[in-house]
Symmetry: C4
Subunit: 234 residues, 4 copies
């Protein structure tokens, strides 16, 4: 059991560096978590710790209520991310989800502050999100309101990302890497679509094109699992 937790610590730690690399976070404002396969546990960032000093050992292990786990995997005395309740709520209610990411990435958060979903006018967006990136309601931190808003918006939706009004992005995936990819692509298409709207009206793609692109991308793109690298259209 230590092995599965340790592997997830390594993976989740490395994925935080991707948030930095793609410019999705400043200071400590963003976090990744990953479910521990075969256990009712997930690994998440400690609260307020800089990405520079994040190590696998400093990550926090929580149960699906978001409570710190005792024992050898507990990661010392650091407190989990203040967004942990939201992560836990998603894991409890979406059993197929193996990873959750939260950021305040710039362009996605701009759509959130304007109270608008991101319309689907790009093939890359149809591929990854299968339509618009939906807008979820405003929810205060402190209980499971944010988690409920995420689940209510994403459950049954093709999109692996939601922008919460006046807040930022939550994304999900079959594992933490897929959730990070969704967060990266969300910011990318939010940016391109924002800039497109400055040039004139942007018409969404027709639904049948979106459906065909989404279906193909989910089933044909990339390598067989041995070579798979969570890639976007390339």
């Amino acid at each position: 059991m230590v092995t599965a937790v340790d592997a997830q610590r390594e993976a989740v730690c490395a994925l935080h560096a991707e948030l930095v690399r793609y410019g999705l976070v400043v200071w400590t404002a963003g976090n990744v978590s990953g479910r521990v396969p075969g256990h009712d546990l997930f690994v998440v960032k400690p609260s307020g710790v800089s990405y520079d000093v994040l190590t696998p050992d400093s990550l926090v292990v929580c149960d699906l209520d978001g409570d710190l786990v005792d024992g050898p995997w507990a990661g010392g005395d650091l407190r989990p991310s203040s967004d942990t309740a939201a992560h836990a709520h998603v894991y409890r209610h979406m059993p197929h989800v193996g990873g959750v990411v939260h950021t305040h990435s710039t362009y996605a958060s701009a759509w959130a502050a304007a109270g608008l979903p991101v319309p689907c006018a790009l093939t890359a967006m149809a591929d990854e999100f299968g339509g618009e990136i939906p807008l979820g309601p405003f929810a205060r931190i402190g209980d499971d309101s944010i988690g409920r808003a995420v689940v209510a918006t994403l459950d049954g939706h093709r999109s692996p990302a939601v922008i919460l009004r006046n807040h930022g992005v939550f994304s999900i995936g079959r594992d933490a890497a897929s959730a990070v990819k969704a967060a990266v692509m969300c910011e990318d298409v939010a940016r391109t679509t924002h800039l497109a709207t400055a040039l004139g009206p942007v018409a969404p793609l027709p639904q049948d094109d979106v459906d065909a692109l989404f279906d193909r991308y989910q089933n044909v793109y990339g390598q067989q699992p041995a070579h798979q690298d969570q890639g976007a259209s390339a």
Copy 2:
């Protein structure tokens, strides 16, 4: 024959790093290919593989139908980029083209999502593109529709780049390095022109100025071949 393929593998691998350096791609969303001189072959990125782990050996060799080539140059069992059919179509129909690049670079794709060509209001754009960067039609991935859209728009046009509606950029060149340069300059002038339109109406350059600049740049700029470095105006 191995030598020509190997040299192209090295070159195309290195050029993918330029896409990253100039911020034209996120995750795995962009690809470069290069025709193998003297052979009906081209080298292209494998699908869904991260730029971080791309090596010359991991690149895929295809024939001009876009099919994987057997034998010592086949590069293992990786599948080629999902955009390979478009690259192959260009090589089949534009024999002077030695390199093809596809990206979803941000500003060029914003013009694509707005359904507008990039007007020519900058000397650097007249130099490199000889006029506007044309808008090609929307085309679904999956057959040679995208390749046909690229060829139909660029054939007989001065511009080495086309933006496909609701999609992104394809650029061409006499070799892969020239096609990458065209992709870099396309994003650069798309960005500057986008920002200019936010300040007020942008009048295109008069046609005789465009013609004079394009003619001079194509014939005078840079060093003799031994020192040539695919440079923009400098």
Copy 3:
């Protein structure tokens, strides 16, 4: 006494690198200072010196009138930042302040040039600033006019940052690291809010939500002091 000064030199020197890392400064246009605990002194950047060559030894030690201090902590013959009078004014009039930062960061300065405060439409902004980022008056450099403008705007305000009309940002904190964090977050929320206004009208968050978020963030977020890392919501 040398120890406290030396420690602050080290800290303030390292924090200038954060201004560069987060893109808040170009050339030499920005500075950090830190009060020396237990002494009526502060450490500040020398004027016109590149961040590349800044060393702890090159920082300047001033008294609370902004005058260079003689003796072993004086740091050679470099002149202090031309903004030193403003830093000194803040330290004299805001005894709880242990660090001051000044930048011309892009988006915050854009709000300043437009003569507008940054409205509070993001949870991250409620967390860190407790409401809008206020606009202070224009003030000329050369006497303590800028310092007075900063103190008059921030005194009694929740926000640790002020944007001065037609100028840039001053931020404060309990120590220099906190003031740098405020400068980083100021630019981040100024950017996101700027981009949001391009999409449509941006409604500020209701006051009771702002109050609840601010109160929680100031009191619950992060680790106990031993692990605290001046973090934003994570």
Copy 4:
């Protein structure tokens, strides 16, 4: 004499790296030159050569007609930048100028494409430019039209930078480092002012404030020469 040329080769080579660092150039589109003190010569970038491979030895030495100089300083067989005629024209007609920079930096070129000078609404701009950054006329490359446009606009103007309509930026300085600083600050204030105009009308600073700021900055800012580092307000 070799010494003065060699020193200028070193300085001009290093300054090209600053163009890259501050994001003022893509590919090879930008160049720096520096007058050789005590000689009617200047050192300039070779045409179309990548910044990555630029070495002091690869720089080109020209006389004030822009013609390649023979002899031990001639730098091999590389051709000078295609903008060399413009640099030479400036050196011939502005004897106090020791350095010239040309870029197509993004925001400054956006103002150029829109045909507008950059209004002076920032203290940093009053400091460095003493007012607006003027718009010069469109001029075709190929003779000394561009050089004449630069000199006609900058001669007698406080601003060390001019934006040429539909083209880009030329900046000057007492030496090459000062000209590079002017190019960096030009892009910085062009960007901030561009973003400010998106928020609402931007009123220029009153002339007496501009005059006072410019006078102070030119005479008080920074260190004595031994420590001077061409700094902006800090």
